[in-house]
């Protein structure tokens, strides 16, 4: 296997981009990543588009050829990769495999979602295409609701209070203040989170990642191709893994076990030759606060039922034990679904290059990004390492 490097990274701000289409966002992020790499876009041999809902929300599929055309890259090998909210991470995994295999020298991945074209109930329905239509969506459950089932079990089993879990959202908003790409650059208080309206009990509005539009892109290449890029601080994709779990949480023997969390993380860390304690910056898929806390526990940073303590003690902030979602996470950077997995790595790349501004984690060398699809039915994990 060839070593794989990230030479370019670009993104749009996450937000409600009423004046821009899915293709506008994808092209902007893709060209930004190519410019950042300092290469010619005609050097890109393959393009992987991470996206979940373009078919439902825009009636648009065939995104590989569409984005390639509008980016002036027609001719390139290109197709869409879909794995629900893990589409971006899955697309990056494909890009990684393409370079690691030796087939291509230089490829690009762009994760994109355009959510504000549709009405809220229709977005809720489109997100549900990630679940079992016949036996889960049929019941009227929503994704918030399915996570709420997990949340209630978690609080009952470990005697954890909702206030403690909800703190995760407060942390993310605090981090996003300094991220120019974030959807919500403002703080929220725990009182605001706890008094926001319930969406699916016990989950409240401000515990949920928002609906938004955005695209993020990366350019990946092998060691030989690096010579063509002017960059001196490089980021290596040291590990890349995707794992699945039984699709629907109610069918898992223990709905709190989140087997995919560990399976994907262990595979990616093994490939990179690291352990969880070596991670300097962590990006977790906090679509709902409880998922952030569960991930900290699954990766071994806290015992079961104690993940919230890391948040309360400020250990997730730069300078803490395990700086996490330092650019705002899904909650406040935003969660343009198919874009998220790529945004997470974009955020880590900025940390590893020392470009994270006020939220810089000093001396960060290793980052880990965890991207979930459905209620962790798919888990994509990437380990990034700074290479001098």
């Amino acid at each position: 296997m060839k070593r794989v490097f990230i030479v370019g990274a670009g993104a749009t701000k996450v937000g409600e981009h009423w004046d821009r289409s899915l293709r506008d966002l994808a092209v902007e992020a893709l060209l930004a990543a190519v410019r950042d790499a300092g290469i010619d876009k005609r050097d890109v041999q393959a393009l992987y588009v991470g996206n979940m809902m373009s078919g439902e929300l825009q009636g648009q599929e065939h995104l590989g050829a569409l984005v390639a055309t509008w980016a002036g890259m027609a001719g390139v090998a290109a197709f869409k990769v879909e794995a629900a909210c893990a589409s971006g991470g899955a697309a990056l995994h494909q890009a990684y495999l393409a370079v690691a295999s030796g087939l291509y020298d230089c490829v690009a991945v762009v994760g994109v979602e355009k959510m504000t074209d549709a009405l809220p109930h229709d977005v809720t329905s489109a997100l549900l295409t990630a679940e079992d239509q016949e036996y889960v969506v049929f019941t009227g459950a929503t994704f918030v609701g399915l996570n709420a089932l997990v949340y209630r079990m978690y609080m009952s089993r470990y005697g954890v209070k909702q206030e403690d879990v909800a703190r995760f959202a407060v942390h993310c908003h605090k981090m996003a203040v300094n991220n120019p790409y974030a959807q919500f650059r403002r703080e929220v208080t725990l009182e605001e989170v706890m008094s926001s309206p319930p969406i699916a009990d016990p989950i409240r509005l401000l515990e949920c990642a928002p609906v938004g539009d955005g695209a993020a892109a990366l350019v990946l290449c092998n060691e030989d191709f690096l010579k063509r890029s002017p960059r001196d601080v490089l980021v290596e994709v040291a590990g890349s893994a995707v794992a699945t779990d039984i699709l629907s949480v109610h069918e898992r023997r223990d709905p709190l076990a989140m087997a995919g969390f560990r399976k994907a993380a262990e595979a990616a860390m093994k490939r990179a030759g690291i352990e969880a304690k070596d991670v300097d910056v962590l990006e977790v898929h906090d679509a709902f606060t409880v998922l952030g806390v569960l991930t900290l526990e699954a990766l071994g940073y806290a015992p079961p039922g104690k993940g919230w303590q890391l948040v309360a003690e400020g250990q997730l902030e730069p300078g803490g034990e395990i700086p996490t979602n330092t650019m705002g996470g899904l909650k406040a950077r935003g969660h343009p679904v198919g874009g998220t997995g790529v945004y997470q790595v974009f955020d880590i790349v900025r940390q590893l290059r020392g470009e994270a501004g006020a939220n810089q984690v000093e001396g960060a060398e290793i980052g880990l990004a965890q991207n979930l699809g459905g209620v962790a039915g798919t888990v994509a994990v990437h380990v990034l390492r700074r290479v001098r």
């Binding site: 019941t139 459950a141 609701g145 039984i246 109610h250 709905p255």
Partner: protein, 134 residues
């Protein structure tokens, strides 16, 4: 609105949805709902078709206040994980109970109820909901 309106899609699932037809794994003994060919836990094939017990208890539940488009107007409603006697788990709505009266561990029984309409002129979908056991 249901994304993929289809009569055959509802028709072919009717026995499993109306009668709680599950599968029992010949290898590991797990009982799953609905019936299927392969055991999700051990991968063994040839699951035996079994009619599942109609009583169980609530493992976890939520109150849906912002529904998907095909359930708009029916909110708030309760969706729960119900563990049937024998261990199979079913995701279903609770009925004949106020959301604030639902508790984890609550004993429930299966009843046949209407779930949704595919469109104003479309097919009506029915299935099993659970109500407090008497």
């Amino acid at each position: 609105m249901v994304w993929a309106e289809s009569v055959p899609r509802v028709w072919r699932e009717r026995a499993k949805k109306y009668r709680l037809l599950g599968g029992k794994c010949p290898a590991c003994g797990s009982v799953v709902y609905p019936h299927r060919q392969v055991c999700p836990y051990c991968g063994s094939e040839g699951l035996q078709l079994v009619e599942l017990p109609r009583k169980g208890r609530v493992i976890s539940y939520t109150v849906i206040r912002h529904p998907p488009s095909d359930f708009v107007g029916k909110e708030p409603y309760v969706v729960a994980i119900v563990e049937l006697e024998g261990g199979a788990r079913v995701l279903a709505q609770l009925t004949d109970v106020k959301p604030e009266e639902v508790r984890e561990g609550m004993e429930v029984e299966a009843v046949f109820r209407r779930y949704r309409e595919q469109s104003p002129d479309g097919i009506i979908e029915y299935g099993i909901k659970f109500r407090p056991a008497h």
